[in-house]
Amino acid sequence: MTIGSIRTPPWARIPYDIYSDPSIYEREQERIFWGRSWNYVGLEAEIPRHGDFKRTAVGDRPVVLARDKDGSIGVFENRCAHRGVAFCYRTHGNAKALQCPYHQWTYDLRGNLIGIPFRKGFQGQGGLPDDFDPAEHSLTKLSVTTRNGVIFASYADGMEPIEAYLGEILPWFDRMFDGRELRVLGYWRQRIECNWKLIIENIRDPYHATLLHVFLVSFGLNRADQPGRVVFDSHGRHYAAMNERLDRDASAEAKREMKSIMDLQLEGPKLLDVIREFPGRETLVMQTIWPNIILQQQSNALAIRQVITTGDPGGFDFHWTVFGYATDDEAMTQRRLRLANLMGPSGLVSIDDTEVVELTQKGTGPFSEAQGVIEMGGLTTGDEDHVITEGPLRAFHKYYREVMGL
């Protein structure tokens, strides 16, 4: 795979085998999800009490996060140290200890092996060898960190602190997670038949919003002439895009480019009864945190979207956690829930995205030697003061190629 010329750097092209090739997929697991990265695994608000646990995944690997007695959080593989049972078969729950059903090996909430039935045998027979050391047979533990209620885990040793990891994107992360207690409003789960990167790229592509999302455009919710910009951490692996909603009419120039405008009126305008709740003029902030989440603030609709790979380059499970703050009043909660109509499996905006990413899988799968072209906004990969750019995609592919050694 040779890409690039003096004019065109490699990251201005997307080689399509990265969406379908099983060996690339495997390397991604090793280097990206199980490599030097902080993977989102959940929210502290999901496991507030001692014994609360939640099942999730880091790439293909099932993991469990649990709240210990002292309030600390353990993240460990959902793979019994004995013979490999994915012992935690509920999505969440509360337990004093985690027990594998097969032979009831029992683990504490940090993943330490604390109980083995018949370890000493029975009636003087059987049992484990005397030199069997339970301490060597704990669950595989991941490094854990949290910031303002958000939990991350890593397979890598000596990861930098999450703040350093987020780098320049930290203020945007902190804007959404400002230390207030979070309240989970619910979950959505979707099976999306395309490579996981396509949905990350979808967010890192601010160029598409005023073109694809006819609903937004026709009801005047998104316009090309809204001020917007994109920022990155120094690696370009994390990303944030911000937009401001304008109240004046769309400019003639904007209308000319956004051909799909239909000038519709909502019959149920309550849908878009939003209020300003964050500092600054931005009404829409979308972020991607390497490698596995998207953070969404669409006015008052807040969500984390998590990519769960499933051993298949051509599809992934997409888990949404929709939330507000513990301090929200009922009106605010209702506002968030109504606005949730824009997102998720039936989202007036998300439907479009789900469809185009699946169509991209169909369009790229049988063309392993073809490439995508991402030159909008020039060949830049850095911060920009507008959103008519594919710089965020170039930055993504630059970093991706680096990590993957492509």
Binding site: Y187, R189, S218, R338, E355, E358
Partner: protein, 158 residues
């Protein structure tokens, strides 16, 4: 089992038959099957059971129902598909004033232009039907789908 005037049960069954028909083939008429102030919700079993308030789709009043239809017909971008409802096990669970509480099981299949048919969602309706007018209308309709992992999108109503 409730004891219910058989004609009411039959009318309700016919109303569900109509509902399925309209969802599948006359989506523009879908809002007409609701009262003006109706609420409509699609909810995953997961959120339903954990008492998490997040719906997957929700409409509060007929205006929002109509906006949904507008989006299905005019603004959303999606690969064309045909859905198909099978509604069965309709039961009346309560009755007061001019409202009847009902539940029913549904299976909704979807088919694309060049594929076979697959399950989109199976689950249960928890509804409140207004009996005051000449025609039955949903006052509340909650569609709880069992398979929390949605295959793609739910574009049309369950």
């Amino acid at each position: 089992m409730e004891l219910v005037a058989p004609d009411l049960h039959a009318r309700i069954c016919a109303f569900y038959d109509e509902y399925g028909f309209v969802c599948d083939d006359e989506i523009e008429r879908w809002p007409d099957l609701f009262t003006d102030d109706a609420t409509y919700k699609i909810v995953s079993r997961e959120n339903h059971e954990r008492e998490l308030p997040l719906p997957t789709m929700s409409c509060d009043g007929r205006g929002m129902l109509r906006d949904r239809v507008t989006s299905m017909l005019r603004t959303s971008v999606y690969v064309p598909r045909q859905i198909r409802h099978l509604i069965a096990n309709v039961r009346i669970t309560g009755r007061e004033d001019e409202r009847v509480g009902t539940i029913a099981n549904f299976a909704v299949f979807e088919s694309f232009e060049d594929t076979g048919s697959r399950i989109l969602a199976v689950g249960r309706y928890y509804d409140l039907i207004a009996t005051s007018g000449p025609e039955l209308r949903f006052k509340e309709k909650v569609c709880v789908y069992d398979g929390n992992l949605v295959p793609g999108s739910i574009i049309y109503p369950l």
